[in-house]
């Protein structure tokens, strides 16, 4: 059952990803992207990362994609229906690069010897979720071991807000 669900989510995610690349209209691309993000959130649930699945839907599919949509509509690109794929030698080189990358990743995966049988981390996570709950299992190390990185993330967001304001403001000079 879980396996079937995973393959359904994987198929939808890959279809959505292809849609992002192929769709003519930017809004279409964006909606395909939301589909992909939702299916990836589904695979997160199957991998027992419930909190991240919720964050993926709320922050990624909700906030970030709406920001993209907002910019598309602000710049009035919604009815930009012509194909903008690069053609000719450039496309050939792109496909060659991507093919080489796919081959490399495939070789790495085949040689990795990863199986679910050696998944000791999964048992530790399941124990932590049983003890602290799905959010507590992430929050406990996040606010203890990784608290410095967490605080620095706050500074990063502040810098991003200021940077976005300065860049998007009219008449910077």
């Amino acid at each position: 059952m879980v396996d079937i669900l995973f393959y359904v989510f994987a198929a939808v995610a890959i279809g959505g990803a292809l849609g992002v690349v192929m769709a003519k209209s930017p809004v279409g691309s964006l909606l395909f992207m939301v589909t992909t993000l939702a299916s990836v959130a589904g695979t997160y649930v199957l991998l027992e990362a419930h909190f991240l699945a919720a964050i993926q839907i709320i922050v990624y599919a909700g906030a970030i994609m709406v920001l993209f949509l907002f910019v598309i509509m602000l710049l009035n690109l919604g009815h930009d229906y012509h194909r903008d794929l690069k053609g000719g030698a450039y496309a050939v080189v792109s496909f060659a690069i991507v093919g080489a990358m796919a081959g490399m990743l495939q070789r790495q995966l085949r040689g990795s010897g990863i199986t679910d049988a050696v998944a000791s981390g999964g048992r530790a996570i399941d124990a932590a979720i049983a003890e602290h709950g799905a959010i507590g299992a992430i929050a406990e190390p996040l606010y203890t071991t990784y608290v410095v990185a967490f605080e620095i993330t706050g500074i990063l967001l502040l810098v991003a807000i200021v940077g976005a304001l300065v860049l998007a403001k009219r008449n910077v000079a």
């Binding site: 396996d3 995973f6 393959y7 995610a13 890959i14 990803a17 992002v20 690349v21 930017p26 691309s29 964006l30 992207m33 992909t36 990836v40 695979t43 199957l46 991998l47 027992e48 909190f51 991240l52 964050i55 993926q56 922050v59 990624y60 970030i64 920001l67 993209f68 910019v71 710049l75 690109l77 930009d80 903008d84 794929l85 690069k86 450039y90 496309a91 792109s94 990358m101 796919a102 990743l105 995966l109 990863i114 199986t115 679910d116 050696v118 000791s120 981390g121 999964g122 996570i125 992430i138 190390p141 990784y146 990063l156 967001l157 991003a160 940077g163 976005a164 304001l165 860049l167 998007a168």
Partner: protein, 97 residues
């Protein structure tokens, strides 16, 4: 479940790379970069089944950086659009040969 998730992650990353390379619309290129980040997140979550909760915490940080990057990147796209009246990357050739 770990290996299929890693395969899915690899496929999504490759499709994202393809999108960045072949599209001309700056916003869609940007969207494809988000797709790549998401593929990496999926790999992190899959590896967290192998190595413990740290993978999921790293995904949390990657998402924050993605949000910051989206805000700044879209601001840059808006200011470029004000200047060129287009988001087609073929028209941005000031620093390009």
């Amino acid at each position: 479940m770990i290996t299929p998730a890693l395969v899915l992650s690899a496929v999504l990353f490759v499709i994202g790379t393809l999108g960045v390379l072949v599209r001309r619309n700056a916003i869609i290129m940007f969207l494809c970069i988000e797709l790549q980040l998401n593929a990496v997140n999926l790999a992190f979550v899959a590896f967290s089944r192998l190595h413990g909760i740290e993978g999921q915490i790293f995904v949390f940080f990657v998402m924050t950086v993605a949000a910051a990057e989206a805000a700044v990147g879209l601001a840059i796209i808006i200011s470029i659009f004000r200047h060129y009246e287009t988001v087609n990357v073929d028209n941005f050739k000031l620093l390009r040969w």
